[in-house]
Amino acid sequence: MDPSELDQINAFLEGDSELREKIKDQVNEFDKKARKMVGLLNRIHFTPTDALPALLESVKPILNDCQAVIKALADSVPPNQFWRWKDMWSNSLRTAVFAAVLVEYLSSGQLASLQQVSEQLGMKEEWKDRVTLTVEDYLQGVISVVNELSRLAVNSVTLGNFDQPIKISAFVKDLFVGFSMLNLKNDTLRRRFDSLKYDMKKIEEVVYDVSLRKLTSVPTLTST
């Protein structure tokens, strides 16, 4: 190879690896915040219903803090290279989506839309070739919420809240129908969707236990 070409390629590769280091540092920051939210949200399993709102409030400021980290990421990534680097932060991002969607569901009983989550995380339209919330990352986060809700169905019964599993069941059923509309290839998303069946089954068994014993006043949902 021509020596000047050798040097040029080398310089290019070194620049690239510095960029990687820089992004990695920012992702570490992001990850710390994501972990912190997971740590707090883990408490839903033993927090009585009336103390839940306070717990959820404590998570929101951290969600807001994520905006700054995400902006820093967007500033680092070169134009059009979103797809090149996204794997580095998608874990943290999915965790943030998980937190946002779970907090919203436990607050309002509603599913936060991709748009809503995207805004809550401070994503800007003009960055979309550098940092954006993809459908896949959003769906991955939502599936993690379902995993958590199946555990919550069990633990809320222990806490004496017999209506929670019924509500969760209705919410998850809706989501499940939504997911079954997607044509998923044999990839991670497909595998995770398959795992939803176990969550559904578990939740259904809790609803079964509760309704068999007539422990709840809420009527169990049927299809419309």
Binding site: I9, D16, Q81, R84, L111, D129, V135, L182
Partner: protein, 255 residues
């Protein structure tokens, strides 16, 4: 979101996912075609060199082969021109994993033809130019990684080229040249292994290829040393005997 909203939303997700999968599928197929075309080009180059084994002039044979190779690779270049819209802006990076295998195979074939013509490594800019329009606008950005990984595969083909070409006239001298060339490639690439993970694995294949060529060159030297004759004369002697035997076999065939 209410139940019905969820359904609408997921409908839009479905469209998004389907569009992604369709494009992905198109690119995989295109990439597979490109891989096949490139592989065939490589086969063709080996074949052209081998078939014209009795020709007088090496240079001529190699140049003719390279020319035919370039022609065949024009099909690949046209295919890339057709994919231009699919790979616009950040789309190249999104589908990199689908595009890279074919691209590397193309670079391998192109660099083989280039080697036959120039006896040197094709520069980055030439590869990029080959997948750009007549105004020099690239169909998509060529990455350094794809460039290097494609070149790294070239060493394997050069090994085949050197060893199967041994019985050609001048094949022994050519093997020594290839040996030196592959050695330089290996040394040059070594510098980049810390940056490109896959290159590390490919380097060990290159090392094996190099050792196979070294063993071949070694065997040549051992033999010429024993008889202490200049290589050309050896070639002539062996050639004439094989030739006479071959024509004899030809006679038998006619029976």
């Amino acid at each position: 979101m209410a139940s019905s909203d969820i359904r609408t939303t997921f409908q839009s997700f479905r469209d998004d996912i389907d569009a992604y999968n369709d494009r992905r599928e198109r690119l995989i197929k295109a990439s597979r075609d490109i891989t096949n075309l490139s592989k065939k080009t490589i086969f063709l180059l080996h074949r052209l060199v081998l078939e014209n084994a009795e020709s007088l002039d090496d240079r001529e044979v190699y140049l003719a082969a390279a020319k035919k190779g370039y022609e065949k690779l024009r099909e690949v270049q046209n295919a890339y021109a057709g994919l231009r819209a699919e790979l616009e802006a950040d789309m190249f990076w999104r589908y990199e994993r689908q595009v890279s295998p074919g691209l590397q195979e193309y670079i391998e074939a192109l660099s083989f033809a280039w080697y036959l013509e120039h006896g040197s490594l094709i520069p980055f800019s030439e590869v990029q130019k080959s997948i750009s329009d007549s105004d020099g606008k690239a169909y998509f950005p060529l990455t350094v990684a794809d460039y290097l990984l494609g070149l790294s595969d070239l060493t394997g083909e050069l090994m085949r080229f050197a060893i199967s070409g041994l019985s050609r006239k001048g094949g022994r001298k050519k093997a020594m040249e290839v040996c030196a060339f592959v050695r330089t490639c290996k040394a040059d690439f070594d510098r980049f292994t810390p940056f490109i993970y896959e290159l590390r694995k490919k380097q060990s294949v290159t090392t094996q290829s190099l050792e196979k060529i070294e063993d071949t060159v070694y065997a040549i030297c051992v033999r010429s040393s024993e008889y202490d004759l200049p290589p050309e004369m050896l070639d002539d002697i062996v050639g004439s005997i094989s030739q006479s035997s071959r024509s004899k076999r030809g006679d038998e065939d006619e029976e």
